[in-house]
Symmetry: C3
Subunit: 355 residues, 3 copies
Amino acid sequence: MSTNLKGKDFIDTAEWTREELDSILELAKDLKMRFAAGEPHRLLQDKTLFMLFYNPSLRTRNSFEAGMTQLGGHAHYLQPETVYSPTIKVGDVGETKAAAETKERVSDTARVLERYGHGIAIRIFGKPADWIYGRGDQIVRDFAKWSKIPIINMEDDMFHPCQGMADILTIKEKIPNLQGKKLVMSWAYAPSPWKPLSVPHSVALVGTNFGMDVVLAHPRGFELDPKVMENCRRLADENGGSFKVSYDMKEAFQGADVVYPKSWTSIEFLPPKRPTPDLDGVRQLIDKHRDWICDQKMMDLCNRKALYMHCLPADRGFEVTDDVMDGPNSVIFDEAENRLHAQKAVMALTMGGRA
Amino acid sequence: MSTNLKGKDFIDTAEWTREELDSILELAKDLKMRFAAGEPHRLLQDKTLFMLFYNPSLRTRNSFEAGMTQLGGHAHYLQPETVYSPTIKVGDVGETKAAAETKERVSDTARVLERYGHGIAIRIFGKPADWIYGRGDQIVRDFAKWSKIPIINMEDDMFHPCQGMADILTIKEKIPNLQGKKLVMSWAYAPSPWKPLSVPHSVALVGTNFGMDVVLAHPRGFELDPKVMENCRRLADENGGSFKVSYDMKEAFQGADVVYPKSWTSIEFLPPKRPTPDLDGVRQLIDKHRDWICDQKMMDLCNRKALYMHCLPADRGFEVTDDVMDGPNSVIFDEAENRLHAQKAVMALTMGGRA
Amino acid sequence: MSTNLKGKDFIDTAEWTREELDSILELAKDLKMRFAAGEPHRLLQDKTLFMLFYNPSLRTRNSFEAGMTQLGGHAHYLQPETVYSPTIKVGDVGETKAAAETKERVSDTARVLERYGHGIAIRIFGKPADWIYGRGDQIVRDFAKWSKIPIINMEDDMFHPCQGMADILTIKEKIPNLQGKKLVMSWAYAPSPWKPLSVPHSVALVGTNFGMDVVLAHPRGFELDPKVMENCRRLADENGGSFKVSYDMKEAFQGADVVYPKSWTSIEFLPPKRPTPDLDGVRQLIDKHRDWICDQKMMDLCNRKALYMHCLPADRGFEVTDDVMDGPNSVIFDEAENRLHAQKAVMALTMGGRA
């Protein structure tokens, strides 16, 4: 285990070593048991996490806020318009002059908050990041650049590392030996054209990091970020797994041990690839692939005890049928619960602990 | 006393036995004294209450949130639009397709939250329940159906059980023996046509449950729900009180020991009785009864030491005159305070306690 | 030291004696050291502060909320529209009838909240106070009139006493002996016409209260409130300092030990001086003084080790250049940090402490 983690930012799991990620899982398991047993574990007593939400959230907000309470501290729920909407470049995002005048730079915001508390967590993707792919991640990294206290990525337009860790924690609970096990991160149809690539990125990254045989499945046009793909290949090499791409959902599901079917947008239609966001273009492309749905017939292609996973909220009836989502293979609520334990471990390791 | 209450939902007092309600009052009195004496009472240490507010709130929100702090835990303030607006039937409430796509089912929301914390409290009536009488209560019960942790009703379109318990706690503090005492739950004029029936329902239900002689007074057209009326009659029978209806405010106030004059809407003008909500119809009916106001002349009809009660906020100058509201018979701030103590008792009994 | 402060409102530092303000500074220093050393200081365990924010806030909200956590209690973040928008005079502020009907009087709000918790903190200026100079302060004082628990002014349209105390704490840390030291509270250019006079008022008041030689610098038309000016002169007399006005930024900066250049509006264009707020008039006046900017040339007029201060957020490029704000004379982040410690001292002294 690698435990010298105080102050370390948690933005993309690929920036943590495998040993460091193992420390998160170890502590998460321990905290999960203590919570179940009702044993206090006030590792961050009287400490503060600032949560800045540019987007809605059910699981992330409530697991972080309840998690801080369980650790003896407190999390602030901050919406950007109530705290002067920190921004990296005033004026360059189509803001009116009046609006820009009420904003404050991330550099100033970060250097103030670090004086009051112990961690800053941020969620930003889609519209609040002006539909420019990568801008959300850039804002998170701007906070990290300026803040001495750790930054936790609560999902930006590139990564959702807390989801990734909750997912691998769940998989390891159900499948003790991951060697040779097949994880399918698959695109699925949903009417909304604005879902970020953060989850497929982070799932593929943790899957390869933990030595699984990862298959990425999607229709053409929904390619992931090439830099992330490269990291997945490197991690597969380093950890004894593999990483492949398929354009056929059925082929991918054959013999799978874990399937993770989920919609995401196409970055081909967004800046910086396009001068302006073309959400209608995404919609037209999406609508060609309504058959990418996870139903019982798809599950029948997998191994009998294959896990069905989803980060939630799922678009029931589009991405997945009710019988699969509520069926015997589904582990979605265990997966949602593990958000709590994984995040508490990340917070305890980065915001508390050794001096 | 009946104390085996861990996990029990608190939606309508009529669904709790009289002994169970007595347990709430006993514990509330005890916690009130401990709070006054500054003695810690951390019965829910590090535990979490999720408060989902579809409507504004001063008393409810602050008494629950401060109450959880006093009990050593924490309450999340959640607004629906920030947590994907849980809904029981996506698409059937006149929502745009885009809006429906950003919502999540109550079934999924409840099954996630139960993994992170210890109770879910909900307020929903009026517009967020589409002005369909009973839909708010249906949503609360949908949470209860899916959640293993207790559901607390913070006021829906049918019941306000926390208000009811605070009211009976207040009445018992001022009038030790309730046998033969007359409680008048009266309609009063206010310009707003959208006030729910939850308070008159819950006040009539606790009044009869605690053996008082309850008189319900209102102009024709403001009838309460027949099912609630039936429960009131049953409870009066069981507990040695009585339950009568009057269409004359003055007649009702004669010799009263407690008066509770308050505006409510007419469910005759709302679905399911009408195909669409007719708030203008309510307004016209309301405007015929501007004389239903509680002034000093009305108070003079009551017993000299009669209690004037209101759940607040009151429409000063409409429902009640300032001299009555701020006069010697008014117990409104004691009543508001007792929200805190009654709710802390409900939370401690349902969310904590024995294993 | 004067320590009999339980229950005392903190609205304007000039209403506290110098000895009482010294108590705040003494405790703030102590709490700052304990926080740095990681030593628990739960002086307000399980207690509640109600924070009512009519305006956005980064520093104030987060320092109060984190401060309450560090003191073992909890602060509620309340926005007016979620708590029936307490108001002093329903209907007289251009509200629609429907809006007025959803509001509650401050008198009722205050008398309810005092039953649930231990302090009420309020921020209100500008639009929420209808641009009527003094109305925000009037609302804060209306809360103080009705509430038995202490009221803390988190910035109204006249005073920002917490900022003032953080500022003098910072100055005293850097300049041990304030006798004969020159503090320049200067107007500076910013495009926004709506910044209140609260900061220049409170800075001038604490500067004179602590015996500094205070120079107030601004273009004609930006005069401070005559009643505040009179208090500054009195405090300078009583505490061995001086208070002068200059209409020339350069002259004022000559030999300064502390400079505090900051934009504020002109109350000449606002009610009660005008029948309606004339923000365009303010804008035109402001735009004549774009040269009131704090750049390195201005800093060169001061003493070599002069402190550059600002309450933040600053309008970078307008009020001040980046090189000054991020330069060696700038103490802005220490100043922001001291908000936390000064406010924790105010809360501990007024909300807790001796019985």
